[in-house]
């Protein structure tokens, strides 16, 4: 019956739309997190240099490094903790060492907590912007140059920047 047909078509369309919506949630989630910075993701591209330094207050930044246990590396920050003024440029390094006899290509995924402070965490240069190849046994210093945006709300006094190191997706696929 045609009354049934048209209703069925509409309902099937609704199903298809909701299926698509499920997948649309993926980019939407990224955009939403990007705008609000709520899941601690930092920008993947270099920020502009700071235009002023706020000498009036200090923020402490801690550094953490972890890695996927399936990747045979040692990975640690050189500096555990820093105190700095918002707007002040800093350079810290992370040390990574390939403990295997295979070349490894790594990606590091950064995260800032509290998440809402992530968008005030400005990186001018970061090893996480690119994949990092490691020869067998290679030890490497990986720098991050960053500052904390002077616009950072007053309530944030302690920030944590953490990295988790993985084998790059490309290398995983080719293995």
């Amino acid at each position: 019956m045609s009354a049934h047909r048209s209703l069925i078509n509409k309902l099937l369309l609704a199903c298809a739309a909701m299926f698509a919506f499920g997948f649309a949630l993926v980019p939407l989630y990224d955009v939403f997190c990007d705008i609000t910075g709520i899941n601690g993701k930092t920008d993947k591209v270099a920020a502009a240099a700071p235009d002023r330094v706020d000498r009036g207050r200090e923020v402490s930044v801690e550094f953490l490094a972890t890695h996927d246990p399936a990747v045979a590396v040692d990975f640690a920050p050189e500096t555990a903790r820093l105190r700095l003024n918002p707007g002040e440029l800093q350079l810290v390094s992370f040390v990574v060492e390939n403990r295997s006899d295979q070349p490894i290509v790594t990606t590091a995924v950064p995260s800032v907590s509290p998440g809402e402070a992530a968008r005030h965490f400005m990186k001018i240069e970061c090893f996480c912007f690119q994949e990092q190849p490691l020869a067998p046994g290679e030890r490497k210093l990986m720098p991050v140059q960053f500052y904390v945006d002077p616009e950072l709300p007053e309530r944030f006094k302690n920030l944590t920047l953490s990295y988790r190191l993985y084998r790059s997706v490309g290398q995983r696929a080719s293995r």
Binding site: C15, F21, G22, V26, Y166
Partner: protein
């Protein structure tokens, strides 16, 4: 609506064909190829009963292991398979198909339609289900075992750390989803297009209304579930990184997508039960339902709100405070329409001349115990409190009160209420009363102490626990075994009716019963309402 549907038939509205025209195919072919809504309803209900006992056996394994602290019978990995498959079987195999079965049987009878709108789709949507569950349950016997990531299959548990049963699991969920969507389309088209003349929207029985709204929820969220299991599949086997941070994905996103489906899903499992209770209470209180319109509006607003509260499952994932507050207030808002419903049920009984046959007893237990589950839900909705309760037995207590003493009690009430119409014989009231009281006592022994051990910090989904929880766990396990055994009484009662043992049921069955389904003979003939009745 000031009067309930009286559903009187006019002069030419024959209620059913005479018995001798009651053709139906015989044997296995009747069931395999049936397009008759009553046959398919029966199939759904029997399938659901089988799944209730299957899922129940898995729960017995869980309770046996938890009877004492330490590891007794099963290893932790197998324990995780038990909790996972128990949850999946109960949600998708027992509760949801039972409601679809009731919809199949009752919606055409209640709206005066000769059958469901799409009979062949109906046949398919049922027969897909046994296939889906055969696939899911077969993983229990495979190397590596069944899925063990919980019925919520959070990534990366279901992606990185899962076994090869994941592929079977994803296929099974897809099939269940297809079945539910076809069922939902069928329900909507039936209600939309096939109401008897005079059956206006505001005359629809509440069971029909709640199912209509449930069907829309199914259409809206089952495709999202299909999407999220597909992402799990491709993450695991095809190198995508939806939930894998290494490739730019985010495991927390899994929870957002899953619970966008998951919270409406819990209402899919309760709204039809609201409809059932709203049908049974007026019958045995011998008064029309109090506040019909407000019931419809409350159901619709619960359905709407269910889309914007999913974050209450994720308070501890590190959401920003504003988002947590939003989800907290939105969640608490749901208590308002839910409260309206409870108020209306109680008001319906107020000064009614009540009798307490078993469908009424289960409905009364539903009201009290579901409300307890609602209250623990409200406690869980309070962010700081949830930080303590999250992932403890308190959550288990909450959702078993709303699902077992809510949804399952509603289904049992419905079966006792309508089984005389289905089989033509009355169930054994004494046996059923014993079933009720055994279930009532044991279900509370089983689930009530879970509130306490949960508040004291016993985590869920763990096969072992600290010594101080030992006594209560032994007590709960005993309650669990008793509850399991009590359901054998239910099985016995149902089998008796199916074999035609018992007093012959009258057409109206219940003195206070209202609605078109009671206008047809008992048992309901194979074909009913070939000529539509006219509803005044």
């Amino acid at each position: 609506m000031s009067t309930q549907v009286t559903g009187t038939l006019d002069a030419h509205g024959a209620a059913g064909r005479p018995r001798d025209h009651d053709h139906k195919p015989r044997g296995l072919a009747r069931w395999l190829f049936s397009t008759n809504h009553k046959d398919i309803g029966t199939l759904y209900l029997l399938f659901s009963l089988a799944m209730l006992f299957t899922g129940g056996s898995l729960a017995m394994v869980i309770r046996a292991e938890l009877f004492q602290p330490g590891l007794q019978f099963v290893d932790p990995h197998f324990f995780n398979q038990m909790t996972t498959v128990h949850g999946l079987v109960m949600v998708f195999g027992a509760v949801m198909p039972a409601f679809v079965g009731l919809a199949n049987w009752m919606i055409p009878l209640m709206i005066g339609a000769p059958d469901m709108a799409l009979p062949r789709i109906n046949n398919w949507s049922f027969w897909i289900l046994p296939c889906a569950f055969a696939i899911l349950l077969s993983t229990l016997f495979m190397e590596g075992g069944a899925p063990a990531a919980g019925w919520t299959f959070y990534a990366p548990l279901s992606t990185k750390y899962s076994g090869d049963s994941t592929a079977f699991f994803v296929l099974a969920v897809h099939l269940m989803g297809v079945s539910s969507i076809m069922g939902a389309i069928n329900v909507i088209v039936t209600i939309w297009n096939m109401r008897a003349p005079g059956m206006g929207w505001m005359k629809l029985p509440l069971f029909v209304w709640t199912w209509l709204i449930t069907a829309f929820l199914l259409i809206a969220v089952m495709p999202v579930l299909a999407g999220v299991v597909t992402m799990v599949l491709t993450d695991k086997y095809f190198g995508t990184s939806f939930f894998d941070a290494a490739g730019g994905g985010d495991p927390v996103m899994f929870q957002h997508i899953f619970w966008f489906f998951g919270h409406p899903e819990v209402y899919i499992m309760i709204l039809p039960a609201f409809g059932i209770v709203s049908t049974i209470i007026p019958t045995f209180a011998r008064k029309p339902l109090f506040g019909y319109e407000s019931m419809v509006i409350a159901t619709a607003s619960i359905a709407f709100l269910s889309f914007i509260v999913w974050g209450h499952h994720m308070f501890t994932t590190g959401m920003p405070v504003v988002a947590e507050l939003f989800f907290m207030y939105a969640t608490m808002l749901i208590a308002v329409p839910t409260g309206v419903k409870v108020f209306n049920w109680v008001a319906t009984m107020w000064r009614g001349s009540m009798t307490f046959e078993v469908p009424m007893m289960f409905s009364l237990a539903f009201i009290v115990l579901f409300t307890i589950g609602g209250f623990s839900g409200l406690m869980l909705a309070i962010i700081p409190a949830d930080f303590q309760y999250q992932d403890t037995y308190f959550v288990v207590a909450h959702f078993h009160y709303v699902l077992v003493t809510g949804a399952v009690f509603g289904i049992i009430a419905a079966v006792y209420y309508w089984i005389p119409k289905w089989t033509g014989v009355m169930y054994d009231e004494r046996l059923a009363q014993v079933h009720f009281w055994c279930s009532l006592v044991s279900v509370n022994m089983l689930f009530f102490p879970m509130h306490f051990v949960g508040l004291a910090g016993m985590p869920r989904r763990i096969p072992d626990y600290a010594l101080q929880f030992a006594d209560l766990n032994a007590f709960m396990s005993i309650g669990g075994f008793l509850f399991g055994l009590s359901q054998l009484l239910f099985l016995w009662g149902v089998v008796r009716c199916m074999r035609g043992i018992g007093d012959k049921a009258t057409d109206r069955v219940w003195e206070g019963a209202q609605g078109l389904e009671w206008e047809v003979p008992s048992p309901a003939p194979y074909h009913t309402f070939d000529t539509p009745p006219v509803v005044k």
